[in-house]
């Protein structure tokens, strides 16, 4: 097992390096420079030259990339040319907001989606099952910015149950949690449907399994069977997919962050790309791809722990 984790970890690092390097090259191919974007006509040629030099843009790409990695090794991601703040600080300051949002969204979606999926599986093909199916799929279809819009209109503007924008007062936990509700719903609603569908599917499969049939034969109540035996097994594939899903959500939280004017990594990355603020782009890219690679690594390890066959396969062939 240790060998597997080591090898898998090595691959993850390789993927991270490849991904970050490719994105690095890509963002530098894109036309535009930070001085022109930020200052418009006020960006004099001298100023542009000075900024380029400060960011090392006058060097060949390979040299820039080398500098980025050697800085990274020292824990230094460079400096934002405009605010003169450390990119590391800028990124770490935004990360918790997005992490909280993503985890609450996924957590909430699981709390709703899993029972819904079980329920649908038990009452398979009833009209309730079908209603759940239609609702779940419809939830998946509605883009999160549309959900966000209506949540705002009703829950924040009309009834004033929740705040419309922002992330709450720094240091005030309750207030921050309160500000998290609407964005988390906007981000998680589609996942409710997705998780419900997944759980239902794997639940149906598990309920056909031999040992469940045995349990039924022993006359255990259906409730006990579902909760104590079937659900545990049925959840495994769902957990794997959730891991992968969370990995991509750091950047897709952008929609909720824009509509609710929340701070976060998605918005940081988006605005940095628009502004061609290369140091910040790279810092944010590193965090988002790193998070993805980490969550796939963890889900692979969990998988391997649960299913030794997979481990052997990965160790041998993969």
């Amino acid at each position: 097992m240790g060998k597997f984790i080591f090898r898998r970890g090595l691959t993850s690092v390789l993927i991270l390096v490849l991904s970050v390097s490719l994105l690095f090259g890509m963002i530098h191919l894109v036309p535009g420079d930070p001085a022109t974007v930020m200052l418009g006509p006020r960006a004099t040629p001298e100023l542009r030259a000075e900024l380029s030099q400060r960011m090392g843009l006058d060097q060949p790409l390979v040299v820039q990339l080398g500098r980025f990695y050697s800085g990274l090794a020292r824990g230094d991601l460079g400096v934002d040319p405009f605010s003169n703040r450390k990119v590391r600080d800028i990124v770490l300051e935004q990360l918790p907001h997005t992490l909280a949002l993503v985890l609450v969204a996924i957590g909430g979606a699981s709390l709703l989606g899993i029972p819904l999926g079980c329920f649908a599986a038990i009452r398979r093909n009833s009209w309730l099952d079908r209603l759940t199916a239609v609702m779940s799929v419809a939830f998946i279809a509605i883009p999160s910015f549309v959900v966000a819009l209506y949540l705002l209109l009703w829950l924040a503007v009309k009834w004033r149950w929740f705040p419309a924008i922002g992330a709450g007062e720094a240091g005030n936990f309750t207030d921050q949690a309160y500000h998290l509700v609407l964005p988390a719903i906007a981000l998680g609603l589609g996942w409710v449907g997705y998780i419900a569908r997944l759980v239902r599917a794997s639940m149906l499969e598990v309920l056909e399994d031999n040992h469940i049939r045995t349990a039924r034969a022993f006359g255990l109540p259906e409730r006990t069977i579902v909760i104590h035996y079937a659900l545990r097994i049925a959840l495994l594939p769902t957990v794997t997919i959730l891991g992968l899903g969370i990995g991509t959500m750091l950047s897709s939280a952008l929609f909720a962050e824009i509509v609710f004017s929340r701070p976060g990594i998605g918005k940081l990355l988006y605005e940095a790309v628009l502004g061609r603020n290369y140091p910040i782009v790279m810092g944010a890219v590193l965090v988002t791809t790193g998070f993805f690679v980490l969550s796939t690594l963890v889900s692979d390890i969990i998988n391997a722990l649960l299913d030794p066959r997979l481990r052997e396969q990965q160790e041998g062939g993969s």
């Binding site: 004033r160 207030d175 509700v181």
Partner: protein, 532 residues
């Protein structure tokens, strides 16, 4: 309904719901609910800023969003007020006068204190603040604002003289009264190494900087050491909000007291106005125009360019993209500023017959196909589509080419690619400042390949640009800038659209203070008389 009553009504339902539902939802049951931060408290003003702050040091500020805050926490010698004119008033200066073309004398009010214990403002602080802007070692982003400023002579504790190496007519509006002319304590800035960004070491305005949180807000508090009339609000909370829709919702939800909103929302809001609120629409002083690249082979013939000028129905653009809130402009220089033309040479609605005749005279085979480059902002896209529709009527087929906003800014640049040759039509807009020089100077020959994407080049225009900066005679400058806009229009390179419109929504309990171009002067915001 007064605000108090309104609050009383809004509170119970929110509280009840809080305790029963939202905590359970979050699994936090049992925790006590402290007063939530998002309700409007008395004496705190919650305002939207249109983007986040990068720096509050004039050496390195990049946007007007920063200037909004700087105006409240720093002092200038002169400053603009909300009196509806472009005439700056005395701020830190007790007396300010232009002696000749290159000398400006000032005398500070005594007893103006920097906060954080940096003592009284002196003429030496003024010298320090301005000279660091032009110090080559500082490489200040905003150095061009200072023009040919050479140095400042200090006469005594309070008085001194600005010495310029050449005449610079925009010195007062841009260098002295603009945010680049903010005054700092030499001691304070030197103590932190000569530069700062988001943590100002000192200030002397009616509000004092308190905190800044990235992507969230800047908080200012009443400055107890301010010598003048105490600031009307205890705290200003200034939120960085890029998205108009989010700001509109936040205003309706009671989280903001004042916000710029988008033009399309004005109509619906006026029909169903949020409680206790008003909207004011101000021309924005920005110059929006259709640029026509005269060096592109398809557009070399001036008659073709003129045909395009005449074909565009600017009134229709105002209706479609500006919801009728903006006026057709006569050129880059907005109304109320010297150099504004009362009337453009071209009629606002254009003239389709004339356009057709011009195309015919030019011997163009129709349909003529042209590309129109535009960025992705909804308003510009709407404008582009109306222009496309206008030009179709005279037989010009326009292909709208959208570009990501930052890529768009490189299109006409010779140093950033080869697109400038291919550029045909484009929609561009530049922000203006307090002097016409700032609206016009981008179109001179020296700007070819930089910001002059029309490839417009006219010797008389270039000479006038220099001459208008060298004279202080207002009437003379007025005539010169008007003539320059005539030249631009006659070249067929420009179809001026509008100076924009900036709708502002605010609670009736406050009275916003705005410059003539709609720029908010936070310092001047105060509770409206009679409100609770």
């Amino acid at each position: 309904m007064t605000r108090k009553a309104h609050q009383r009504l809004a509170h119970p339902s929110r509280r009840d719901f809080l305790q029963h539902a939202s905590l359970a939802l979050l699994g936090l049951a049992g925790a006590a609910i402290p007063g939530s931060s998002w309700a409007i408290e008395k004496n705190r003003l919650h305002i939207r800023n249109y983007m986040d702050v990068h720096s509050l040091d004039p050496v390195s500020t990049v946007s007007g969003a920063e200037g909004l805050i700087m105006g409240a926490i720093y002092q200038n010698l002169l400053q603009f007020t909300a009196d509806g004119s472009w005439k700056p008033r005395l701020d830190a200066a007790e007396w300010f006068e232009q002696r000749d073309a290159t000398h400006y004398d000032f005398r500070l009010k005594p007893g103006q204190m920097f906060n954080n214990g940096f003592g009284e403002m002196t003429a030496d602080d003024v010298k320090f603040s301005f000279e660091r802007m032009v110090d080559p070692a500082m490489n200040a982003i905003n150095r061009p604002d200072m023009g040919p400023l050479s140095h400042v002579d200090v006469h005594d504790r309070y008085s001194g003289t600005f010495v310029l190496s050449a005449p610079y007519a925009a010195f007062i509006p841009i260098a002295i009264a603009g945010s680049s002319g903010s005054i700092f304590s030499r001691q304070a800035v030197t103590a932190i190494g000569g530069r700062f960004t988001s943590q100002p070491p000192c200030g002397s305005g009616p509000y004092a900087f308190q905190s800044w949180q990235a992507q969230r807000k800047t908080v200012l508090a009443r400055n107890p050491q301010w010598a003048g009339e105490p600031a009307p609000f205890e705290e200003l909370h200034i939120y960085a909000m890029v998205n108009d829709k989010a700001a509109e919702m936040a205003f309706e939800a009671g989280q903001l007291d004042c916000s710029h909103i988008s033009v399309e929302t004005v109509g619906p809001f006026e029909q169903a106005m949020p409680p206790d609120s008003s909207i004011r629409v101000i021309p924005s002083g920005r110059n929006y125009w259709l640029g026509i690249n005269q060096q592109n082979p398809a557009l070399r013939d001036i008659r073709v360019r003129q045909a395009i000028q005449y074909a565009v129905d600017v009134e229709a653009v105002m209706q479609a993209a500006w919801f009728g809130l903006a006026e057709v402009s006569t050129g880059p220089v907005p109304e109320g500023m010297i150099g504004h033309r009362p009337k453009a040479l071209l009629p606002p609605r254009g003239n389709v017959d004339k356009a057709r005749a011009l195309l015919k005279a030019a011997g163009v085979s129709l349909p003529l196909r042209l590309d129109l480059a535009v960025d992705t902002r909804p308003q510009n896209l709407a404008t582009a589509q109306v222009i496309q529709w206008s030009l179709k009527k005279v037989g010009i087929e326009v292909n709208i080419q959208t570009h990501e906003n930052s890529t768009f800014n490189t299109l006409g640049r010779e140093d950033l690619g080869a697109d400038w040759r291919k550029l045909q039509l484009f929609l561009q807009n530049f922000i203006g400042m307090a002097d016409p020089y700032y609206s016009i100077t981008w179109f001179i020959s020296a700007q070819l390949g930089l910001w002059n994407w029309e490839r417009f080049s006219n010797t008389e225009f270039d000479q006038l640009n220099d001459a208008a900066l060298a004279t202080s005679d207002t009437a003379e400058r007025d005539r010169m800038y008007q003539r320059m806009q005539d030249l631009m229009e006659e070249s067929g390179c420009y179809r001026f659209l509008t100076n924009g419109a900036m709708p502002l929504i605010y609670r009736n309990s406050i009275a916003p203070a705005l410059r003539p171009d709609g720029y908010a002067l936070f310092r001047g915001f105060h509770p409206s008389t009679g409100a609770s």
